[in-house]
C-alpha cells in the first residue's frame, strides 16, 4: 500500500537557510545541503526547497545548491519560489531536482503548467496554491480564494475551480497551503484539504498549520492528503521525523519506516 509522505520544507535565501535550523540535540545548521542530508538520513520521504531569493544573480547560487543536494540525497526533492518560465524549470531539473513548483507564475500565465508538463512530464510539475478562506460568493462558490505573492494579493479566483483547472492543464501534484492556518500551529485546514483532495485525481500535499504529529494524521485521514508538509515542528528540535512517523504509524497511518 502507498505510504503517506512526510515532507520537510526548507526556505532558502541566497543559498542559505533563512533561519538556522536546530535539530533535537541542539546542532545548529545553516547550510541547506547539510540540512537536506540530515533529513534524508532521518527518514524524510521528500524535501521541498523554497527559494525566496529576489535577485537574478542569486538564482545561480540556488542552482549550485540544487546540484549539491542532488549529489547528496537519493530521494525526490522539489524546488519552488521564483520559477516563472520553462527555462527556470529546465535549469532546476537539469541541476537535479525531481520536481519544480510553480505558484504565482501559474496564476498569471496558466500555460506554463501545460508547457512544463509537455516538456518535462506531468510528474515534474507541482502547482503551489495559496488559499484564503472567504465568504461564499458567485465568484468564489467554494468559499476559498486563490491569493498570490505570499498571501498579499487576492485574485478573485475560486480555489476549487483552480485546482481542477491545474489538473486539466497537466499538473502532477498540488501543494495546498492555507494562508489562514499557516503559522498558527493549530493544525491544517482540513475542510479545504479534503475539498480539494476529493475533487482532483492528482496527489495533494497539505501545507500550513502543523503543530504536532496528530495534525499530520488528520491531514492524511480526514483531509485525504497524500502528503503533509512540515517546517517548524522538525526544524527546531521539537520532534524528529522518526518520532513524527512513529506517531502516525501508531495512529494507523501507513508511513515509510525503513530507510
Amino acid at each position: 500500500m502507498l505510504s503517506k509522505r512526510v515532507i520537510p520544507c526548507l526556505d532558502v535565501r541566497d543559498g542559505k537557510l533563512t533561519k538556522g535550523i536546530k535539530f533535537k540535540g541542539n546542532v545548529e545548521i545553516g547550510d541547506p545541503v547539510e540540512t537536506a542530508r540530515h533529513y534524508y538520513e532521518h527518514g524524510a520521504d521528500e524535501i521541498v526547497f523554497y527559494d525566496i531569493t529576489a535577485s537574478a544573480e542569486a538564482r545561480g547560487i540556488m542552482l549550485q545548491v540544487v546540484e549539491k543536494v542532488a549529489e547528496t540525497i537519493f530521494i525526490p526533492f522539489s524546488v519552488g519560489g521564483g520559477i516563472a518560465s520553462l527555462e527556470d524549470m529546465r535549469a532546476a531539473l537539469l541541476a537535479g531536482a525531481e520536481k519544480v513548483s510553480v505558484n504565482s507564475a501559474a496564476v498569471k500565465k496558466p500555460e506554463i503548467i501545460s508547457q512544463g508538463a509537455e516538456a518535462f512530464g506531468s510528474q515534474c510539475i507541482v502547482v503551489g496554491m495559496d488559499v484564503l478562506r472567504v465568504e461564499k460568493s458567485p465568484q468564489c462558490p467554494s468559499g476559498y480564494e486563490i491569493v498570490i505573492h505570499g498571501g498579499r494579493r487576492r485574485m478573485g479566483m475560486d480555489a476549487l475551480w483552480w485546482a481542477k483547472e491545474v489538473q486539466k492543464l497537466g499538473a502532477g501534484e498540488i501543494c495546498l497551503n492555507s494562508i489562514d492556518a499557516d503559522g498558527t500551529r493549530d493544525g491544517y485546514e482540513l475542510k479545504l484539504t479534503r475539498l480539494i483532495a476529493q475533487n482532483v485525481r492528482i496527489p495533494v500535499i497539505a501545507s500550513g498549520g502543523a503543530g504536532n504529529p496528530e495534525h499530520m494524521v488528520q491531514a492524511v485521514t480526514q483531509g485525504r492528503a497524500s502528503a503533509a508538509l512540515i517546517a517548524s515542528i522538525v526544524h527546531y528540535g521539537e520532534y524528529t521525523i522518526q518520532e513524527v512517523k512513529d506517531y502516525m504509524h501508531q495512529a494507523g497511518v501507513k508511513v515509510r519506516r525503513t530507510w
Binding site: 502507498l2 520521504d45 525531481e98
Partner: protein, 209 residues
C-alpha cells in the same frame, strides 16, 4: 563500467549521480562500442513509451540492445526502461522492444484507495515490493523497505517472469525478469539506501558475470 543508456528521453543524470555516489564507474552513452564494452547496462527512463520507441528505432539502439542482450549482457531496466522491454504498451499504443513477453497497462480510473476514494493517478510515492521469487538484486535489502514510484502505466509480463508485486488499488507486477535481465517499475536511484543497495547488487552481478 556500467553504461547508462542514452536514448534522449528521461532522467539519465539521476541514475548517474547515484552510481557516482556509490563509486560505481559509469558512463551515459549511446555508442555501440561503449555499450558492448560495458559490464552491464542500465536502461533508465521517465517519459512516454511512444517517443522513447521513436528515439530508439531512429538511432538503431533497439537492434544494438537486442544483440547485446542475446549475447548475455546484463541489463537493468528502470521505470519506462522496464516497461519498454515488453511487447507493447497501452501508452501511445506503442509496440515496444519485445525483449521479454508481456505488455503494459494503465491503472484503471475506477480503482479505489483505502478510504474507498478513487486512487490518484499517477501512483506517486513510496510503496512496498512483495517478492514472490528470490532475486539477487534484493540481497541485504530489508523486506519492509519501500521504494519510490511515479507512473501511470504498469508492466504485465508473462507470469513466469514476475519477481515482485506491489499493491496500489490492485496488485501489479513491480519487478520482473530473469537472472541477468531485470526490470523494475520503481526508481532505485530515488529510493534512499535500499535503492542504492539494489544498484550495488546489480554492479556486483555484472562484475561477476
Amino acid at each position: 563500467m556500467i553504461a547508462v543508456l542514452n536514448y534522449r528521453a528521461g532522467n539519465l543524470t539521476s541514475v548517474k549521480r547515484a552510481l557516482d555516489h556509490e563509486n560505481i564507474p559509469s558512463a551515459i552513452t549511446d555508442d555501440a562500442e561503449s555499450l558492448a564494452q560495458a559490464r552491464g547496462i542500465i536502461f533508465p527512463g521517465v517519459g512516454a513509451a511512444g517517443s522513447a520507441m521513436h528515439n530508439l528505432r531512429n538511432s538503431g539502439l533497439d537492434k544494438i540492445l537486442k544483440e547485446l542482450l542475446a549475447r548475455g549482457k546484463p541489463m537493468l531496466g528502470i521505470c519506462l526502461g522496464c516497461q519498454i522491454i515488453l511487447d507493447k504498451s497501452m501508452e501511445n499504443h506503442a509496440s515496444t522492444l519485445s525483449i521479454l513477453p508481456g505488455s503494459c497497462e494503465r491503472f484503471q480510473d475506477e480503482l479505489q484507495d483505502e478510504h474507498g476514494d478513487p486512487i490518484n493517478i499517477p501512483h506517486m510515492g513510496w510503496n512496498n515490493v512483495n517478492l514472490v521469487k528470490q532475486c539477487e538484486l534484493f540481497q541485504d535489502v530489508p523486506r519492509e523497505a519501500e521504494f519510490y514510484f511515479v507512473h501511470s502505466y504498469f508492466p504485465v509480463p508473462h507470469k513466469d517472469l514476475v519477481i515482485g508485486d506491489t499493491h496500489y488499488g490492485r496488485e501489479f507486477c513491480s519487478v520482473f525478469g530473469r537472472p541477468g535481465l531485470w526490470a523494475m517499475q520503481f526508481h532505485p536511484e530515488k529510493s534512499g539506501r535500499p535503492g542504492l543497495k539494489i544498484l550495488n547488487n546489480f554492479y556486483k552481478y555484472c562484475m561477476n558475470a
